[in-house]
Structure formats: structure tokens, C-alpha cells
Amino acid sequence: MSQHDIALTVNGRAYRGTVPARLTLVDFLRDHLRLTGTHTGCEHGVCGACSILFDGQPMRSCLIFAVQADGATITTVEGLAPDPAGLSVLQDCFWETHALQCGFCTPGMLIAAQALLNRNRAPSDEEIREAIGGNLCRCTGYKQIIDAIKLAASRLQGANAPLDQKGAGSHG
């Protein structure tokens, strides 16, 4: 098995590693970097639990080899919050609407939703469904997830409003 040196940025931090050619990116993130927030649900690119932002685009890390991430900038669920102790507006909205139950699909769902909000601050219900349509959730029936994304969009639209309206939850 050939080994390859890679260098990439994950959640703002530079990493170097040597990986076997067949190692998937999700296994690299989980097993090598111990970033276990990114989950594997099907390993054939359908469920979306392994979604990450790859150079800003939502992508399935089970369908990419680690060597393909050489030079890439990656954000995982662990990198969504502004600081390790805090929550992003979107994460806080997921908490507010209880947009999860078991929490297994949640990291991928957050990534898909964040990618949407990064390009569209006022998504319609249809656009939200489209954005999370590739992420399967077995617990929620998607309703409270859609509510969370709508809430986050409205809070982010008010980003210039006073601080207490920005979505930093009182329970946070």
C-alpha cells in the first residue's frame, strides 16, 4: 500500500500526515486527527452524516480519499463555533428548536445548513429542503431542523442588531 504525505488545514489548524492511499478522508479526520464529530452512517455517500466543508463546499468525506485533501481547507462540526466553549448562531438555533434527537446526523446536518447560510441568508423552505435533502435524519422528520435553519437565517439577517439578539442563547 503506497503511503502519501499530505498537508491540510482543518478548523483553522495546519496538519501534516502520512496516509495510505486507500484511507478515506473521514477515517483520517476521525482516526488520525481524532475529530470524531464527523460520523459515518453508510460509507456510500447517501446519508450525509460525514459531511464536511471542503474549501467551503459541503462534501461527503466518506467518498474522498485523504490524499485528495492535500492542500485543502476543511471545516468539520468542531470548527463551526467561534470558540471552543461557544456555539455558532446555527448551532444555538438547533438547540433552541430541538433540531435533533440522537445527535448522530446532526454534525452533517449542521454542515449542510451552514453551507446554505454561507451563500443564502434568506433561504426559502424549498431551498432549505434542497440543501439538507442529501442528509438523512431518522429521528426528527426534519421539521425542527428546518425551523432551526429558518431561525438562524433570521438571526443572521439581524447580525447588526444589538448583541442580545444575535442568537447567543441565554442557556448557552
Binding site: 495510505p20 486507500r22 476521525r30 482516526d31 481524532r34 475529530l35 470524531t36 464529530g37 464527523t38 460520523h39 459515518t40 452512517g41 453508510c42 460509507e43 456510500h44 447517501v46 446519508c47 452524516a49 468539520t76 462540526v77 468542531e78 463551526l80 463555533a81 456555539l87 448551532q91 444555538d92 438547533f94 438547540w95 433552541e96 428548536t97 430541538h98 435533533l100 434527537q101 440522537c102 445527535g103 448522530f104 446526523c105 446532526t106 454534525p107 449542521l110 423552505d125 432549505i128 429542503r129 439538507i132 435533502g133 442529501g134 442528509n135 438523512l136 435524519c137 431518522r138 429521528c139 426528527t140 422528520g141 426534519y142 421539521k143 425542527q144 431542523i145 428546518i146 442563547g169 442557556h171
Partner: protein, 798 residues
Amino acid sequence: MAEQTFRYIAKKRRPKEDRRFIAGAGRFVADLALPGMLHVALVASPYPFARIRGIDSEAARALPGMIAVLTGAELAAGTDPTLPGVDAPKVKRWPLAHEFVRYPGEWVAAVVAESRAIAEDAAELVEVDYEPLTPVTDPEAAMKPDAPAVHPDHGSNVLFRKKWVWGAVEEDFAAADQTLSFRARWHRSSTVPIETFGVLAQWNPAQQLLDVWASIQMPKFADQLAKALRLPGNAVRVHFDVDVGGSYGVKRGLKHSILAGFLAKKLGAPVRLMEDRLENMRGGDAQGPDRIFDMQVAFGNDGIIRALKIRALDDCGAHAGRAPLQLGKPVGAICGPYRVNAVEYEAISVTTNKTPQEAVRGFGQAPTNFALETAVDRVAAALGMDRLAVRRANLIRAEEFPYTIPSGSTYDSGDFQTVLEKALTAADYPALMAKRDEARRKGKLAGIGIACCLEPSGGNSAFEPLFNPKNETTTWMEACSIKIDGAGAVVVSINTSSSGQGHESLAATVVGEVLEREPETIRVVRADSLSALPSNSPVGSRMAIMLGGAAAGAAKKLKEAITAIGAHKLGLAIGDVEYHDGAVMSRADPAKKASWEAIAEIAHRKFHELPPGIEPGLQASHVLEVPTGGTLPGPDGRVQMYPCYAFEAHIVYAEIDRITGQVALGPYIVGHDCGVMINPDIVHGMTYGGIAHGIGAALYERFRYDESGQFLSGTFMDYLIPSAHEVPDVAIVDHCTPSPLTAFGQKGSGEAGYLGAPAAISCAVNDALAPLELKIAELPMTPGLLGDLIATAKKSSS
């Protein structure tokens, strides 16, 4: 029960456990890593039925990084088999096939290596010599005397067969104005959580102790694991602080855990077994009910249903754990929410060469509800009556509770009519009918579905003795313990793992309610199986009732102790003080009070200030028996199954694409009454999710096998789980009829939505097909199935 006012219960509250999941900081079994951990890959049978002639693992063993290959023969010699929930002692199951493979995908050998990748490489090098046998794949064929026996030692494929007659069924059928009969088919699907099952086991030889971390939801898992491994129960420690990535019944990987535990002990290293998706779907032994209902209904010209004859034949697959018992739970709601005078029920469970079943959300109730609601629709059609009118005429009325059904269960409370009417109002039913009729005028296939379904809750064990007289289990208790430290901080200990039900929020809210302390300040921890008090895990929509009840019971004991300590401190009789916000104060002079902190300090440090008879330290535990539990079934099989009955009324609009057969759903309204909701967001979430799951079972999800027994649905491209595109916006209309049996009037709700959605969608599809004079009583109604059906109508009409 008088209307209660609550401080924390029934209020919006952010669930405690959500915080870690949104940060990506859940602790799932695949996230755990131990030094020196080994990985398992599995060699799976390509045949549905075959004799194993030999296994050659020489090439596999030569691979660098390989540790061991384990076969069924060695495992069977070193472990005890697990047995079915019914009395069939010769139907033995080991984690690896022994002598025979009985279904496609059954595990034949386990390969252990330093990494999962190496283990998979090695598994491909294991050569198994099979002698293929003729499989049996059809449950009706499996019942025939000349059918190949999946378990020859058992003598036939019939694992369980019993007929009960409750009431004057024959007389009612003879006297009825009309009767009708039909067959309803619920094909094989399951809950299919996004997290597959996984287990990590580590044997500690110095302590003679097996530590187990698993994504488990299973009553008495640790006991059964220890028994199979021939260990005393106190030599297995299951850690319940593992987050379970969805279960809805199926996360019961006993065979996986026996295998991992055996390997960990044998190899002296931590061993992890994580299913991949194919293993989960094919060899994870977690498929669901696969049922043929033959229904007969006796009814009057007025639409009143007098009696039912139900024959349910379930194909449990190649092995039976608790699968046959899924025919048992519906006995507790065998006539649904309707007044039916008499019921005959025949339950048959057979083995075939398919993947075994596991417990699926509702434990057999969702298929039964589908058959019952189809019966109601058939009665309406036979009489030319409105479907709603038939339901209204037969629903049990609010003033009739508690109401005992022919099979012996008493429904605790309800107001079915009101819930149905509220749902119809919210749906604007006349407008919905106008929308349907307008769509039909435009040539569309449009329909409205209605389903009125019960959701038995409280997770009792009564189906065990009903289906196996040798099993005299009459309690499925649940426990909770609470400690208050010397500074007044509260820790609640629960005794099971959770898979999304919000048990930490539940326990904190209930304890906060009783002790009048902010739930946010209460920490909830999980015992391991050795330190745990008794639990029967979150099954049968029981935890709001059982964990909620146990937590309330423990909190009330603490409140009494605090009150006694406070009264003693104030020099007053207990009757002269009152408990308020955690402090104890004089009724006569509220300024005279002992604070929460002062009482905690007394309990922990000042024995000299404790009243006589009060233990030092502030801790209490409570073990709760299931309300109404504790008795064996009567000789006629009459039994109180579960204590509490929630009710759901679904209204759904559907349009079917004539060409593709695709069903578009929505609006979707559900009226729901599960008594007092401890946390409304959590209850609503489970209901939305249950409906989504029901949409899958109704329209998309099916584990398919071809006629030769090959399994065809091993990926998410073959087994279709509803995405955000297929699940419409659902509106829930709440109603609250408190249960008289529970601490706060709560009922269970973990199976909400799923118990009625398949029935409702089937009803909508049939309404849409009615203008074509087509009907169908088969789930899932996949696009292909509906498209073909519609095409036949066009042919016959052209």
C-alpha cells in the same frame, strides 16, 4: 384527575443533552478508542441456506496485521446460545453460523486484525465450502409440512401458533348484518438508524471483568451477555454513558456483543466490532415485522363494528429473539380505539431463510393499526358510508373510560372524539375535501387519509408470559436515584443508555419539579450495569412514565427527608412547616426558615442536628413497578398489556403521479393526546420523526429478497429512507387527557406518529385510487407498485 399546574413540566425547555451533540461532542461507540484495540470484520454467507462443509482461513491468517480467525464451531463450544422469546428451546442462535447458514449474510467467521481495513482484506481471503440447500422464503410455504425446516431440530418452521377468542365472536358474526374479509400485507422494513450497531469489549484478567461499551437499547442486556459468555452477571460491566445514534427498538446487538466479548477474552485485547451499512442491513439481525393479516369483520348496517377475526402470520426470519413477541403486544390494543364486542386473534410466527427481526418501534402495533384502519375503511366502503362517520360511530367515548377491551386490557383515559375533531378543524377538512375534488376534476389521483390509532405506552412485560408460559416475568421495573451533596448540588443517576429520547432532560425536569429546583442546575449521570439500579431500558414508550415516575418517587422521598430535617432545625413539627423552593419554613411565620444549603450541610456534616431516624447524607432511590403490572395473564389470555394509552388522529392529503406512482403528501395534520408532556419539544420531535418513519414504511422502505432467497436491499440506494423531500410539513394539534396512573398525568410517546402514519397514508392512497375502482392493502406502496397498479386500471378501462 384535576388539572395540575407545573413549574417546569410541560414548559419549553432546551433539552440538556442537545448541547453536546450540536458541538459534535457526542460520545458514540465508534468514537471510543482504547490502546491496542483490535478490529473485527465478518465473513458472511452468500447463500440463504447451506451446510458449512469447511472453512479454510490459511491465506487470511498469513496477512500481516492479522490476529485471529474465529469460526462458529469454536464460538459454539465456548458460549451458550441465545434462545427465542417463545418456548422453542431447539431454535438456538450463536453469533456465528454453526453447521448451517440460515440466511444470506449470516456471519460465518469473524476476522480480527490490527485495523478494520486489514480485517476486511483478510475476510476476503477466507474460503468457505458450502453445500447449498433449498431455502424457504415464503411464510405461508414455510408452514407446510413438507417445507424445508430452517431449524431441523425444532421439527417445523412454526415457532409459535395460538388462537385466542375473547367474547362471543361466532355469535356476533352469525348475528351481524354483514361481514367482510380481506388480506393486508405489511412487508419487511425496520427502523434502520443512521448509526449502525457497534460494540467495544475489553477483558480485564486481574479483575476477571468484561467492560462493554455498546450502542445498546435492550432490557437485561448485561444479564443476557453474561449468561451467553458463561460469566456471572457481576463479571460484565456495560457502560451506559455511550450515546446511541438512534435505535427506535432495534439496537440490541446481543450477538455482536457476545462475539466481541468472547474475542476480547480470548485475545486479551480490546476488540471493537462496528457494523458497516451492509452488515447492518443484511447480517445485523435487525429487520422488522413481515406480516400477513387475514381480517374478518362483522358489522351492522349502521356502521357499528361488532366483532373481528384477525389472523396474523409473521415471517420472523431465520432466528427468533423477541420477534414473535411482536405479535403479542398488539393484544393490548387489538381493537384499536374502537368499541368492539368480541375479538378472535390468531398469532403465528414462522421461520424462513431471511435475516432475523429485532424489536421495531411500536413492537408490532403499527402493522396491526394499519390492518385495523383498513378494516374500518372497508366497512365504510361496503356500506357506502363516510369513513369519518364510521370512525365517529365506533370510537370509544370519553365518558366510557376506563374502558376494558375484550382481550383484557383497560385503556386508562382518552377523549378520542375531541382529538379527531380538533385535527379535522385544524386541517379545515371541508376545504381539504374541496381541494381533493378540484384536483380530481383536473384529472389527478387525489385522496385524503384518516387514521385513528392507539399508542400503548408504559413498556410492560406482559407479552412474555402470554407467549411463553415458562416465563413468569411480571415486572419491568425502572429505577432512579438522587444525591444532594453537602453544598446542595443535585445529581440524578439513571440506569440505561439513551438513543435520542432526552432522558437527561426528563429526569432533570421531573426532579426539579418535585424539589422545586431549576432543572438547569441538576446534573444527570448514568450508572454502569454493575452500579445501576434495575432498569428495563427505554422500550415500549415507557420512560416518561417509568423513569419519570421513578425520578419523581425518589425526589418525593428526598423532599420528605428535607422537610423533616428543616422542621427539626426550626424546632417545629413536620405538620407546622412547609417546603417551598427547596427551603423549609414555618407555616405560622414564613420568615422562620431553614435554607436548602443549611439543610444539605446538616445532612452531610451535622449529625447532631439531624432528627432521629433520618440517615445522614441526602440520597434516595426509587424502583417503580409498571402501573397496572404485576399479574400473569388469565387462562383465556386476557391480560393488561401496557398501562397507558395515547391516541393519535392523522389527516393527510395525497396525490399520486399516474405515471411514476410517486405519492406527494401534505398537508399533514395529526391530533395527538399523550397526556401531560414533560417536554413538549421532545414529544413533538418524536412525533414528527415517527411520522417520517411511517412515511418510509408506507411508501418506500422494504427489505427485499428475490425468489431464490437473495437479499436485494443492502444499501441506502436500495432501501429508501425518506429525506426532507419526501416528508411534508406536519402540523401537530395537541390535546391533553392526563393518565390517572402516572406521577404527573403523562403517557408515553416514543412511538408516536409511526403508529398511525402508515395507516393514514394507506387510507389516502386508497381514497385516491377509488375513482379507478382500485384498492390496495399492501405496504410499502412503492412508486413501482402503484405505477403498475394504475397502469392495469388504464388497460382495463380502455
